[in-house]
């Protein structure tokens, strides 16, 4: 019978595997709705282990938005570790949801949230475990529609053969509209339903678009193969965050996860315009949640969850127009309750220190993190991260003066136009940080950690045309940097060095700027046993390279090749709102080492999002303050 729980079968396997609690469900605020009275049933997947997937806000939000609707049911499913997967295959237990333990293949829709491309092989593994054909073309009316969302869905071409559809951008309204179309087309064929979704707008169905290639391998054109679907598919934008205060009831797991806190998104979008940053580009414009809206969400969420830490989440939280009042208001409200606040602090200025001090008033003092991203001032102009070395040293001095002992600095290696010298300047910066730290604190007990990873050019950014640095050169630069840090004995011990080598970045680069021909490589890797590519103990560079070779794919062509202005990019028919001309102009300005201001505070610099999407920047200040709560 459809929708029947497989828990009785699963239960006898659980004592035989590690961390069984992750498959049991029953999280606080989770729900199991009646199967038969639901007209549309969604399975929502985060394609990584439960411990990473459960805290994901996107899935949590959509789960709650859908379940609030009468006649709609949503359950969650996560990747299964190989130990259980083997036992499930042996015993004929299909992939299931953790809520009702219902077979994934019984649902109407399987919505998969991709915040990174490294989840692609996990999708194939899960489809296979579920008994759903991995190729969309092989599915029939009995199978769920497989719909991809999340940031990576802005270029779903590499997974075009495996998904039925993709949604670009915010999901709150999109999932409700999709649900409506599915209700109206109940009983129709798979093709008809997908057609209805594609016509409704904002849903990309890869099968309705053909790709032609030039003899040299570049794309000639991408065009719809039927008359009534749009040439370009637009992204979705949820404009009024106060109207969508989700998650209202955060899921609280029994199992341990990577993110043991409640999160409240304080705004979406970012217009700082860092040229490497896909998230900043594709989530424009900036939409702030109001200070009172934030206050209510924190209050309701803490009550419903019992968490003792609240993360104020966004792409650049210190940029909220009323962040000072928010931090102070919340710190006042929760004074003496052991509730701590945190925010990903990456802005390099003194204001950030005041803020961090406010936030740690009730809780523990964590380290401070800054992200200059580029090693030299020249390079920071190229990437449009406007921070001078003096700024950084000043900020760090203030931090050490205010009692911090630990500072973390984030960088990227392999940025366009980068040379060895640019990267070596990181060592100078770190040494300087230690020197001022010792001076200000009068002790040698200060530390600085340099964290550096390879830069991967991403679609819908000014760097989408850039050449990615090859793995060998990346590793060479990282080694130079490490040697430089170690060469100064007076500071070497105080500087931590953490890095990601260049190889995984190449695979990420292949997937993020890939086209439909990369699908065969993903499938080959999965067939060769590749899963959990985000985990170093599972990731195998060699497996990817061998699979690419077998499928006749030249990895360099996709990664280290610089693209020309007139080249048709695989995602050109997918509209993130940004004008391609503007992106190109910004790319040229980057090469000229010219910076650009944040359009939130200065007149618009014409990226195209606002007019095209009919949206606008929505920032405060509202001038309202948070009042103390009358806590009983």
């Amino acid at each position: 019978m459809a929708g029947e729980s497989v828990f009785p079968l699963l239960e006898s396997l659980l004592p035989l595997i590690s961390k069984p609690i992750q498959y049991v469900g029953g999280e606080l605020n989770s729900q199991v709705k009646d199967w038969d009275s639901a007209k549309v049933r969604w399975a929502l997947m985060y394609p990584d282990a439960y411990e990473v997937g459960l805290p994901n806000q996107g899935v949590m939000i959509l789960y709650e938005v859908l379940n609030e609707q009468p006649g709609v049911l949503a359950e969650r499913t996560y990747s299964v570790w190989p130990d259980l997967a083997a036992k499930m295959r042996e015993n004929g237990v299909p992939a299931f949801t953790v809520d009702g333990h219902r077979p994934v293949k019984d649902f109407d829709v399987l919505g998969i949230s991709f915040s990174t491309e490294l989840g692609y092989t996990n999708m194939l593994e899960h489809l296979d475990l579920a008994g759903i054909p991995i190729h969309a073309a092989d599915r029939d009316d009995s199978h769920p529609l497989v719909i991809a969302g999340g940031h990576a869905a802005f270029n779903p071409e590499p997974i075009a053969a495996f998904i039925d559809a993709a949604v670009l951008g915010d999901g709150e309204q999109a999932v409700l509209e999709i649900t409506e179309v599915l209700k109206q087309t109940k009983g129709q064929s798979r093709a008809e339903r997908l057609h209805a979704l594609a016509k409704a707008g904002g849903v990309y169905v890869p099968a309705f678009y053909d790709v032609d290639y030039l003899p040299d391998g570049r794309i000639q054109r991408v065009a719809p193969n039927r008359s009534d679907v749009p040439f370009r598919v637009h992204k979705r934008t949820t404009m009024d965050l106060d109207a969508w205060p989700y998650p209202k009831q955060p899921l609280v797991p029994l199992a341990e996860t990577v993110h043991e806190r409640m999160s409240v998104e304080i705004f979406r979008g970012c217009t700082r315009g860092c040229r490497f940053c896909q998230a900043g580009m594709i989530t424009r414009p900036v939409r702030e949640r109001s200070i009172t809206g934030i206050g209510e969400m924190v209050e309701a969420g803490l009550k419903a969850s019992g968490y003792e830490e609240v993360g104020l989440l966004s792409l650049s939280s210190a940029d909220h127009s009323e962040i000072g009042d928010i931090a102070k208001g919340l710190a006042d409200r929760y004074e003496g309750t052991q509730t701590s606040l945190s925010l990903p602090s990456t802005r390099v200025d003194a204001f950030n220190i005041d803020l961090a001090q406010e936030l740690q008033r009730n809780g523990r003092r964590s380290g401070l993190t800054f992200a200059p991203e580029g090693g030299s001032e020249r390079l920071r102009k190229v990437i449009n991260k406007m921070v001078s070395k003096d700024d950084l040293v000043k900020t760090v001095t203030t931090a050490y003066g205010a009692g911090w002992r630990q500072v973390k600095l984030y960088f990227m290696c392999g940025l366009p136009t980068e040379t060895d010298e640019d990267v070596l300047e990181i060592a100078d910066m770190a040494r300087e940080v230690i020197r001022v730290g010792r001076q200000v604190t009068g002790t040698r007990d200060v530390r600085c950690t340099v964290s550096i990873g390879g830069f991967v050019p991403k679609p819908h950014t000014p760097f989408q045309w850039a050449s990615q640095l090859d793995a060998e050169t990346t590793d060479h630069r990282l080694k130079l940097l490490r040697d430089a840090i170690n060469s100064d004995k007076s500071t070497a011990k105080a500087i931590g060095f953490r890095y990601h080598d260049g190889k995984p970045g190449i695979v990420e680069g292949l997937l993020s700027r890939g086209d439909r021909r990369i699908g065969n490589v993903i499938e080959q890797v999965w067939r060769d046993g590749g899963i959990f590519d985000g985990w170093s103990e599972h990731f195998s560079y060699d497996r990817w390279m061998k699979a690419a070779e077998k499928q006749g794919i030249d990895v360099d062509w996709y990664t280290t090749r610089q693209r020309e202005e007139n080249e048709v990019l695989p995602w050109d028919h997918l509209d993130s709102g940004l004008d391609k001309e503007w992106l190109w102009a910004d790319w040229q300005e980057a090469l000229d080492e010219q910076e650009l201001d944040d359009c939130r505070w200065i007149p618009c610099f014409d990226c195209g999002v606002c007019p095209q999407m009919g949206t606008e920047i929505q920032v405060g200040p509202t001038g309202v303050k948070l009042l103390p709560l009358s806590i009983v």
Partner: protein, 265 residues
């Protein structure tokens, strides 16, 4: 390097210590001890229990755990002691906490801990039940006999420090087989270091009698406490109950013990 101390007043002192018996039933038997500890802390916050906190840069609520059933093993008798910064009525506390905890982690009883008494000192043995579906009663009975006849039964277990050998026999005070529709082993096991767990006893049964269950057995702890003269496990909270017997939540669940064994939820 001087030791830094946090600014501000020290946290309020503990004014009431409460001993709590709770369960780990059904699916929740797959929680690890860390999972339970986390769930408890969050439930205490949701139930607005006025916890006392330790001093220092990262204050912790005062919670002392007494042993813990291993992951995968159900229990009707787990214990924890908490320290409160304000007095609370035991009944109300137990009810609020029970409501805030996930179903399966249920509060059985809460009593005040008299000053100067130690709960861990009273807990020296456990009574376990292990369901063995799919095994012939006669086979189980023979294995039990062989087990009891042995002097020592060395078994291996993977611990954090690597493979270790321990004796599964000497800690077992008693063992008998109940043979109904499904064979159930009843054991009383003394708490020793390293602990002898239901799994170790099953390894012992495999060693002495080749007993290999076809499906994973389900173990439940029914009681833990002092060992009586007759080799039974006593109630560790008995000395704490007021003479009227009115303390805390009454043991309404006590008669559910046997019925709860392996009941699917």
């Amino acid at each position: 390097m001087s030791k830094r101390t946090p600014e501000g007043p020290p946290p309020p002192p503990t004014v009431q210590r409460v001993r709590i018996q709770y369960t780990k039933r059904g699916r929740l038997r797959f929680t690890s001890h860390r999972d339970i500890a986390r769930a408890f802390e969050r439930a205490l916050r949701r139930a607005q229990v006025p916890m006392a906190y330790s001093a220092g840069f990262s204050p912790h609520p005062k919670i002392s755990w007494v042993g813990a059933a291993p992951t995968g093993v159900a229990s009707e008798a787990e214990y924890v002691e908490i320290g409160l910064a304000e007095h609370r009525d035991l009944d109300a506390l137990a009810r609020a906490l029970d409501e805030s905890l996930p179903d399966g982690i249920d509060i059985v009883e809460a009593v005040d801990a008299p000053v100067g008494t130690s709960l861990p000192d009273r807990i020296v043995a456990s009574r376990w039940g292990i369901r063995l579906p799919g095994l012939e009663p006669s086979v189980v009975e023979a294995a039990v006999a062989a087990f009891l006849n042995a002097e020592t039964i060395p078994v291996e277990r993977l611990m954090k420090t690597g493979m270790r050998t321990l004796d599964a026999r000497s800690a077992v005070v008693s063992m008998r087989a109940e043979t109904g529709s499904c064979a159930i082993l009843h054991l009383v096991v003394r708490h020793v270091t390293p602990a002898v767990r239901p799994d170790d006893v099953l390894s012992g049964l495999r060693t002495v009698a080749d007993l290999v269950p076809p499906v994973p057995p389900e173990a439940t702890r029914y009681a833990q406490g002092p060992l009586t003269e007759t080799g039974e496990v006593g109630d560790p909270l008995a000395p704490d109950r007021s003479p009227t017997g009115a303390a805390g939540l009454t043991r309404q669940d006590a008669d559910r013990d046997e019925a709860a064994i392996g009941t699917p939820i």
